[in-house]
Symmetry: C2
Subunit: 496 residues, 2 copies
């Protein structure tokens, strides 16, 4: 079985473009089959949006981007792919014939996943060549950020196909959930559909507007659902007495008229017009691109918040980050010219780094400098594995000068000069530069002490770390001492 | 109408205790009527948990805590209250007689809110004395953190009651949503109930376990629901073509068998046992207190992440913060002894501040020092109003020495000495102290420059700011210069 290098995407709409962005940003080449003459522009916009979100989501090197090619020929996309993902309209009469064509053109061992939200894989694969390699891999919008992918096989799907698809989806940062029994709508869409039908009734009966219903979710249960779902939330609501107590207390309400779902609202013109008008009012004049960016920013913020607790989608992000760092170390070493200050860390000013003055806030400077320090430490091998062995460098002293303000989205990089090093100490000097203009924004000098973290005291660094550090320190000793190094804070002149 | 100083709570279970915690932490006195002999201990534990979460949620001074008293006499709680909130079991035959007794004992102008999840206010108020002051104020667990409260009046509820209740709930940091038409289950619980019934079917039919269903939510749609709800999410999924396109595409699936909610699952012993067993497996041996803390941490992290974008629950938190700061300034000035370093900022080490070494990470030191600087600036009147007038202090230089590591949850405070000041400059020295042991953890020296933020250049501070700053600078000039001030980074001895 070959490694997956090229992904073929059948359909490049909202879902297909989301897959394209996720794959390209994970370093995979992508061939998208789409007949829209504007497909290339639209795909490019989605990839750009996704890249913007990824820069906020992870500091890890993505190892991409891969190449993106658009074709009008289904067979072209299918024949060149190591993995195929179908994202066509939600109709069996569209999906089945095109899937069958793709299966004929593809290598027989290539897995074909369908993004269907709820059609049954057994029906989609019924007439397919080599049906054992087909399954559903149902993603959620935006595909480049949402971790969940529901994996559901049909009657003819092999276990190996499920394993390979699950491994592939996980390798691009997703959280596969294997749906063990084939069922219309799988799991998530059944829950979404039940809630959605109730929401449509509430609008239909003029109980609440679209905006009021969304508020009822996002200020209330939606917050809990983002990390715990419904069962665990209710268990905790049961207090010390647990789930049985909760069920005893709330069981009876199952018989009460708390949903109207014994019936389905008719989606006639009147209801449709009402929903569209309420949705327009809610959108408040912002464009779809503005809403997409706000959605992505919020998704990233929620996942990053949860990462701090290693829970839910935050745990998925934590694993993904670790994998990306590992992969970047396993790859071919990047040639670094040690004859000048090292450029090992680049980033962009995030909206949430801005303070009440409209500029990057004070502590974010130190965060970026700290990321620069970590990049140098990883570069000399003082990385996660090294920490696991019980060794680390601790910062004991830092001096920062803020020279220029910087606004949102500015590209930044750090240039690092090693001012001195011995077995236990590492003295470095960072320059924070606005990359586009080359403006020096701030400088920071710091002293690192190498420690045995178990014993809690200083000790010499490992020989292999010193072997990487010493050539840099010797080469940098020949560079001029940067302006501002060794400076103390002073306030000359008369005071109050 | 008098200001609300004392809140009477009828029932001190999970919901009542949550109200007690929210009220007490917002500086209100609370009288809880509960017959449980352990009520006092249980309430104390919930308040302690809530206080822990509030310390993470906001840096603003809470102006509390209020006093908490437990009584076994319903009339005692009702007669002494300026606002009454009922949190009794979800049964009309329990709620109605006790609400009627409370209404007789209470002042006629006191608003009575019921926490019912879905009983109709018109039925609850039918026989009540002064029924116009009764309504439903339906909160969500944990009440001390979740912003949403659904406000729903009955036939006899006055508009004034709705306005007063809405203002009260907002004043304690909540986001009231007025339910305009009286309906069983209001809005949020109807949505929750529809989703919950579908989830019970999935367990009943062995399609998925409790943990799988929760995963389908928290790695997928639950993430989006936490800030956008369902309508806005779907609108964005419609891409450039908007809501009508989305409805055209997904409308047909309303007729497909994607939920089983035409029927209600029977909650028999078999289903109940299955749910309890699956829930126990999911709880993974953690205690209810551990789960509560993790839930609270995640809720706070999600809301804080969203605050960075001023959206959803993050916007509610932003407003609440601003209100708390405003209230603390409006209150009586706190006497500060300027003859010694000022102690204006206290906090605790948050779990998300911990790095891979298990200690508070580098940039969080500067964050805490920055919060200390802001506290001094607010103290001399360089606050949000001052920024709005176009003036601010910018940090131009910072020096930090890390002396000791510190672990999670340690109480911290900052002592600040003004080393010098003139019309444009402010030179200060912070000591970061572990409050319990008095250990000095780190020191930081910084130089602030006063700027006209519109013009983007230095300018003299306003006279009223200088009038507050100068006495402190003069008094502190008499103090000894702290050890470590004016220090530069140096690395003596042989290098590599």
């Amino acid at each position: 079985m070959n490694a997956i290098k090229t992904v073929g995407l059948l359909g490049g709409g909202v879902i297909g473009a989301g897959w394209a962005a996720r794959c390209v940003l994970n370093g995979l080449d992508v061939i998208v089959c789409d007949l829209d003459p504007e497909a290339e522009r639209k795909l490019g916009e989605v990839v750009a949006n996704a890249e913007r979100a990824y820069r906020k989501m992870t500091l890890a090197p993505l190892g991409g981007p891969g190449r993106l090619r658009v074709t009008r020929e289904l067979e072209d996309a299918a024949a060149g792919a190591d993995f195929i993902q179908e994202n066509l309209p939600e109709r069996e009469d569209v999906k089945i014939p095109l899937l069958n064509r793709a299966a004929k053109a593809a290598r027989p061992d290539v897995v074909i996943g369908s993004s269907t939200s709820g059609l049954l894989p057994s029906r989609l694969q019924a007439e397919m060549a080599h049906p054992a390699r087909f399954l559903v891999g149902h993603p959620f919008n935006p595909v480049y950020l949402m971790p969940l992918v529901e994996v559901c096989g049909g009657d003819k799907t092999s276990d190996e196909t499920k394993e390979r698809a699950t491994a592939f989806y996980a390798s691009i940062g997703m959280r596969p959930l294997v749906v063990r029994k084939e069922i219309d709508g799988f799991i998530a869409d059944r829950l979404m559909e039940a809630l959605w039908r109730e929401a449509l009734w509430l609008v239909n009966d003029d109980i609440a507007t679209a905006a009021e219903i969304d508020d009822a979710m996002r200020f209330g249960p939606g917050l809990r659902w983002s990390f715990m779902g419904t069962f665990l939330t209710y268990r905790i609501a049961g207090g010390e007495l647990g789930m049985r107590h909760f069920m005893d207390q709330f069981g009876p309400s199952l018989k009460w008229p708390w949903t109207k779902l014994m019936d389905v609202p008719e989606l006639n013109d009147e209801l449709l017009d009402k929903i569209v008008a309420q949705s327009d009012a809610q959108a408040d004049g912002r464009t779809i691109r503005e809403w997409e960016r706000l959605r992505d920013d919020c998704l990233v913020a929620v996942m990053q918040g949860l990462r701090g607790h290693g829970f839910g989608a935050g745990a998925v992000l934590q694993d993904y980050d670790a994998k990306l760092f590992e992969r970047s170390h396993a790859g071919p070493a990047v040639a670094v010219d040690i004859g000048k200050p090292l450029r090992l860390h680049t980033t962009r000013v995030q909206p949430e780094w801005i303070d009440y003055n409209g500029h990057m806030t004070e502590s974010r400077y130190l965060q970026v400098f700290g990321d620069g320090t970590d990049a140098l430490l990883r570069h000399i091998g003082a990385d996660a594995d090294y920490h696991a062995r019980g060794f680390s460098y601790y910062t004991v002293e830092t001096h920062i000068r803020h020279l220029r303000e910087v606004g949102v989205d500015a590209p930044l990089h750090i240039e690092t000069q090693v001012l001195g090093a011995d077995e236990k100490r590492l003295h470095m000097f960072h320059s924070l530069v606005e990359t586009k203009s080359g403006t020096l924004l701030a400088i920071s000098e710091n002293m690192q002490l190498h420690v045995d973290t178990g014993a809690g005291r200083a000790c010499p660094a490992a020989p292999e770390v010193l072997a990487k550090l010493q050539p840099i320190a010797r080469a940098h000793a020949a560079l001029p001492v940067p302006e501002g190094a060794g400076r103390a804070i002073a306030m000359p002149g008369p005071k109050v």
